[in-house]
Each structure stands twice: as structure tokens, then as C-alpha cells.
Amino acid sequence: MRLLLVEDDVDIQIVARKALTRAGFAVKVAGNGAEALAAAQAEKPDVILLDWMMPDMDGPDVCRQLKADPAMSDIPVIFLTARSQQAEIARGLALGAAGYIVKPFDALNLGDQVRAVLGRA
């Protein structure tokens, strides 16, 4: 499964990429919202893992633009959210997100969590 990881924190990028690759995903990484939209358009990934809080364009903004584009609106978006931001997540769901994963995550389980959120556990 091809996965686009959108995350501004380099450490989390590295850990998540490793964990997801080991779990059988083909991972592309984008470091901000603009890169994410470009990569999504070019790559048409099967799923997008999107950090909630990023500078400039935050997760909800990216999600809104993805869902507004008919070419990309079908790609499931999963938010990555810090424990402390969970309360806002219902807003993300209302934007059409498939679900969310809470940070910090256990690298051993991240792949399973992605599949579980997609309902393909």
C-alpha cells in the first residue's frame, strides 16, 4: 500500500517512515502542506497520514483542499495528532478524514493502527 506521510518534525518522519516501511507500506514523505498537496496530486497514494499541527498550512487546511479536489477527494486521510490536540479531532472528521492516530505512537504498532483505522486490520 502506498502511503504519503505529511509531517514537519524530522525525528517523527524518520521513526514513522521506518516503522511503516517495515510494516509493508511504500512510504513517501512530505515536510509541509504545500509539498503534501503536490505529492498527493503526483503520486495518488492509497492513504495520507497527515500531521494535525504544522506551520503555514496546518493539517485541517491540507485536508480541506484535498477533499475539495475531485481527483484526490477519495484518498483516505488519517490525522496524526498529539494527545493534547485530540479534543479538536471531531472537526477533522467533519472535514472528511477517515480517522486519527494519537502521538506519541508505538513504532511497532503504527502500521497496524493505520490498517485498523482504514478498517483493513
Binding site: 488519517i78 471531531a90 467533519a94 504498532n109
Partner: protein
Amino acid sequence: VRAHLVAVLTAWDLAVLLYFVTVNTIYLLFCVIAFVRLRDHRRRWTPRRLEAVLQSPATPGISVIAPAYNEEATIRESLRSLLLLHYPEFEVIVVNDGSKDGTLRELIAGFGLLRAPAGYDQPIATKPVQAVYRSLSNTDLIVLDKVNGGKADAINAGINAARYPLVCVIDADSLLEDQALTRAALPFIEDPSTLAAGGIVRVVNGCSVEAGRVTRVGIPSSWLAGLQAVEYLRAFLAGRVAQSAMNSLLIISGAFGIFRRDAVVAIAGFRHDTIGEDMEIVTRLHRHAMDTGQRYRIVFQPDPVCWTEVPESIGILRNQRNRWQRGTLQVLSYHRGMIGRPRYGAVGLFAMPYFLIFEAAGPLIELSGYLVTVLALVFGLLDWRFAELLFLAAVLYGTLISLAAVLLEEISFRRYPRLSDLMRLVAFAVFENFGYRQLTTWWRVRGIVDFFRNKQGWGTMTRKGFTKA
């Protein structure tokens, strides 16, 4: 032969007499310790200081966990009042433990829930969580829908999903005071080594309740509930305050308790194969902390926080007491390795032996005392003066203790403002010792018998979990 019989019976009665004098004297000491504690507590926590705590950025967030099983009739109202609690940062996690009624439907309809597929670390193993729900209108509400696994399993699932460092575990039908979370968080702010805090549970029967809040405090009109009101005052205000002062509190009521999440996770959560999971978790917290050499404390917070409805039917009360008795025996047997061991401090040397003698075996001793005395009198084997002494030690001394507990309430919290209520409380305190106490003793003896006869009965008991009936 007769002389021998008299000697044996006399010795027996003396032992029972000693037992009654000891248990009531311990309780009298509890009352004295509690009096000092409550006075200090009142002086320290003025409303102004409470408000200061609320404003402080150091106030820890709390995840309130309400396990729910077949609560469709009341869940909307209870949850509404929970979400209105007065506390700066908290969330409410309702765990629907495979209810067979429309609990989940009520929640979805009442709070506009959205299905929110979620991935999060679940450090404690539980029955699978089938769905996570969130609400657009109440962002601090999470509903977990899981496969039925009993109350402890539901609590564990809630702890897994909790995002704050403190978890407050309540019964779905507990009525909380507006300031419950503030008061319960105080011990953790006062001393960060606090692992857990219990709150006082009061009897709501006889009070007026509006929108999930107690608006007028009153004494129950039913005798059975009134007697329990006094019983609860004695157990909580005298018993638990004093046990907490000695850092040997063994029970935090399932109706309201607050724990450090990491401490509970470290011991793999609540045990789901037990009847008394609320006593078991506290005992295990003590054990683990002392095994690992931590400095810690587990405290009881005497301010009013939580109201619960007590049974007004003899049958339900009998079953409850039978279950409590079996729960106590079970926890003592799980943790028998702690009893009398100096390495477990006041818990091993005082609290657990106390529970073993006075809570676990107590009903047997009391019952044997009553029986032996009556039989001996009937057959003319015993002096009447013995019966008088036993009556004094058991019933009159007991009445004194019950009255002392009512007095503690009056000089500390005064939640019963009307004189007529106070007079009835006093009457219940007297009558608690004439008949009611003997009745509960009998039910507890039955519990002891059931415990030793039918160990297999636990499974079904836990699975039915926490239905009130």
C-alpha cells in the same frame, strides 16, 4: 462435663467480648484521628485556596472514565451533568461495555456522535474496542464501544484512551458534586507522590436531584436507606479518613476514585477476574510501590464529592453485602503474602490484619458470640451478667461510635442543615446497632460460606459486572 462446657463457653464469650471492645475501640480511635484530620483539612482548604488551585496552570488535566452497561434510561442525563463539572481541563470517556440495551444509541443521538476510527497505544490488554466516537458539540467527550468484558475491563479500556495524567473512575450513575474534580485533584497537587485518592460517597436517597446535581440534601425516608446513610458516614468519615492518615487505605470506592494513570498502567490496570476490583487495585498499588521502594501515598479526600443511590430493598442489599464480603475475602487471599509482613509497613502490619480479623472473620465471631450467649442462657449455663456485658460492648459501644460519626459530620461538613434531619440521623445511628447490624452480620456470614463453597461463582458475577440489581 457441665463444668467443662461452662468453662469453654465462658472463654468463648470472653473472646467475643474482647473482640467487640477491640473493634469499637479501634473505631473510637479512628474517630479521634479523623476529628483532628478533618479540622486540619478544613483550615487548610478554604474556598479561596480552592479557587486559586483552579486558576493555577499546574492543575493537572483529568480524564473521567464512566463505564456503562445497560444504562439507556439514565445515560444522557448523567453524562450531561458530567460534562458540566467545574474544572479547567478534563475529558469524559464513556465506555459502553457491550450493553444489550440502547445505551450506545442514546449516546449517539443525544450527543451527535461521529464514528472516529482511531489508532492509539493501548498499554493495558482489554477486550477489543470496536469503535471510537467523538462529538462536534462536546469536544471533550469520547465514547468507546467495546466487546463486553466486565467493569474492570471497561475501566482499563478507558484508561488506555485517556489523554490526561489523572484518571477519575466513576460509576455511570454516580452523581458528582460540581467541585468534585477540584477537590479530588488537591491531594495530587499537594504532594506529587500521591498515586491515588478516594472520595467520600454519600447516600443520595432522600435528597432532591435536578439535572444530575443534588440540589437539596435530606435524610432518606426509608429505614433501610437511612441506616445505610449512617453506616456510610461511619465508614467514610471515621474509617477511611483515619486509615488514610496512617497511609494504609485499602479501599477506594468504585463509585469515585482518582488515580495517576501511569501508576495504574504500571501494574497492568484493574484486575477483571475479581469481585472487588476497587479494593484489589488499591492493595496492588500499595504492594507495587513498596516492592519497588517508591515513596508514595494513597489518600482519602473527605470533602463531599459523590452521591450514590443505595438499595431500599432487602433482597438487593443482601446480595450487595454478600458480594462485598466475598470481594474482601478474595482480595485478602490474593494478597495474603502481604499480611503481617514488616516490609509492607502499615498496610501489612495494620490494615491487612485489621481487614482479616474484623472485616473478613468478624461476622463469624460476632454471630458465634450472639449464638453462644443465647444458647448458654437458654440452658442456664451462663451468668446473665455476661449477656449484659456483651450487650454493652456490642450494641451500646457500637451506638456510641455511630453517634460519634454523626457528630463528626456535624462539626465538619454539616450537609444536613435541618434539625429534623439531624434528629432522624441520630435515631438511625441508634437503631443501626439494634437489628440492622446483626442483619448485615448474618448476610456477611452467608457471603463467607458462599466464598468457600463456590469459587466458580465469580466468573458469572464479574461478567454481570456492575448492574445495580
